[in-house]
Symmetry: C2
Subunit: 361 residues, 2 copies
């Protein structure tokens, strides 16, 4: 994998990942006249829940559903410069123009109130965009296994790099797909957030993993994985190194965890074999997802990685994919119970979801 680091007109980094030996040199210049990136975000800790919240007022003006011929994630064409100066690319990553967190944020740690109830800090971190393919009309599900491998290598590279960025405590590569979850750019792409704190979800899972380890002497995910592989009732796809299953207490109408058989903290820790093997299982899951309602499934898919600086032994890398679609044309809304009290009510059992996904192809 060849890595070429360049800079966009406003100074943001862009990194080309090329696996093909005959890939051209990435030398194109960004000819646009871009304003500097706004970097004014802050984080505050909620005094009642203890959870950090990000605030990024400059994001109100972010790009909102541009027409396809102005897609900022397609390669540049003569007279139509995009975010990617090259005329083509394989996998490319660049710093988000409307970042929730960025390295350039100035400011000091402080508190919102005189009593110190609400700690606040600059939203210092880094947010990147990952273009999975230059094909505007493609999707992750339509990538070849070799393309998936390139994306995995790009995720690994970015996780390793972001883990060295000052202030970053957790690296979260994810894909939002579909208008139903607010995606404004249809070009196949994902994002990576380098958070300046360990996220509430991960904090919670670490607490559970720590208690389980203390009681049983084993990682909880290892036992969950063993139980799922043994019963098989919720398993969707399996390979030498990975198993994909509907979690036994699924919250979402469609939800799948793709879990490596070996405990690793993050994507960079995966071996070559494990990376190659991931493509088969994940592409199978994605094709079933698109077949489920006979339409492209809107989904969120994200990598659970261990925190950068602590509790790395308690993490067990896995990808979680879920969808808000509970029927071909019906959304699962997050209303009072979910958004107010964090109690999900699922219209389907995990076993039903697994059965439907297995039957979809």
């Amino acid at each position: 994998m060849r890595r070429t680091v360049r800079h966009l007109a406003d100074g943001r980094e862009i990194i080309y990942f090329d696996s093909l030996p005959d890939a051209p040199e990435r030398t194109a210049e960004d000819t646009r006249d871009l304003p500097p990136v706004a970097a004014t975000s802050e984080i505050r800790r909620d005094p009642l829940t203890g959870e950090w919240v990000g605030m990024a007022a400059h994001r109100q003006t972010r790009t909102y559903k541009p027409p396809a011929d102005l897609c900022p994630l397609c390669p540049s064409k003569p007279g139509k410069p995009s975010e990617i100066p090259e005329a083509d690319y394989e996998v490319v990553v660049f710093e988000n123009r409307f970042p929730s967190f960025s390295q350039g944020v100035v400011g000091e740690k402080s508190t919102v109130d005189e009593m110190g109830l609400v700690p606040t800090a600059p939203g210092r971190g880094r947010c990147e965009v990952v273009c999975f393919t230059s094909n505007h009309d493609g999707s992750f599900a339509k990538l070849t296994p070799a393309q998936v491998r390139s994306v995995v290598d790009a995720w690994a590279d970015r996780t390793a790099f972001l883990s060295t960025v000052d202030g970053v405590e957790q690296v979260f590569p994810f894909e939002n797909r579909g208008e139903e979850i607010g995606v404004t750019l249809s070009h196949p792409h994902g994002q990576i957030y380098g958070y300046p704190f360990v996220t509430p979800r991960t904090e919670r899972m670490i607490d559970v993993a720590r208690a389980y380890q203390a009681e049983h002497g084993r990682p909880v995910m290892g036992d969950v994985l063993a139980a799922e592989r043994k019963s098989g009732i919720r398993v969707i796809a399996e390979s030498e190194h990975w198993t994909a299953f509907v979690p036994p207490a699924a919250r979402w109408p469609v939800q799948v965890q793709v879990v490596p058989h070996r405990q690793v903290a993050d994507i960079p820790s995966l071996t070559d074999d494990e990376r190659d093997d991931f493509a088969g299982v994940y592409l199978d899951v994605l094709r079933r997802c698109d077949a489920l309602y006979d339409r492209p499934l809107p989904y969120i898919a994200g990598w659970h990685q261990a925190p950068v600086h602590r509790d790395r032994d308690l993490g067990w890398l896995h990808l979680e994919l879920f969808s808000v679609l509970r029927a071909k044309d019906k959304l699962k809304y997050l209303a009072g119970s979910e958004s107010g009290m964090a109690v999900w009510i699922n219209d389907a059992t995990p076993e039903q979801i697994a059965e439907r996904l297995r039957a979809a192809l």
Copy 2:
């Protein structure tokens, strides 16, 4: 307040609340031929997060946007029977026909897997619907203070009753309003969930309150309230017994907490004066919400009450209202960061939100 308990054709309870001395006797019979209520829900505890999830497969077929002349929450008309047999009502509560939790669920506590990783139990609890007014085209914001007082008394009555229902551990009265959050019935109404467990959100807030109390000897909400009242920068409305403010680490584009000045565990603990006084502050907040974008604001509003059987001394009753609308025609979507990692990124600061709400009227 006169309470009349009757039963619908399928055996569900309906309770009429009448404050007017000349209210007619509530004697109308439900003439419909209704099938028995399905009661098949279960709860499972997620082995990776430790959080309970509800599963209610029978809810797939629930009522979905009926035409207005068939509104099931309007009073019955000759030949058009609704959920409310009477020809009119003031405030009425009845058991939900498509309950997430109900008293009739059979089954035993068990585990999904042989290893005991995923505890499961019948979804035993109770879900009720609260009609705020018989006026189909009304809204909570358009109620009179006297009507609001009747609703508060109904909430208090139901909280006290549901707290005695076998298995109920937390009572959550809430209102979902607006199509944007999936409300299928536009008639002004709310719901009450009697959960068979303490909700994840409340568990988290109790942990934080316990730690704060141990360190400072005071309830955290008391200090937050004092800080907000002193600075005033996020305060929207204030009265003798209540203050409404945008929380200092707000997650949502619109978010307001309405907090009583005295620590009470739940709505039944409010005095007459406190109940009367609530209407003024809350109606003011709601009118500002509807004025904010010059359109009825879709929102979720829910009461944080202490658990029924434990940690009641750590609770501080309050109502939290929030909206997914970040501009007149733009939704805040819960995508990868929010739904995957529980990190909210707000496009506005709490101070901006408060300023807009104060300027709205």
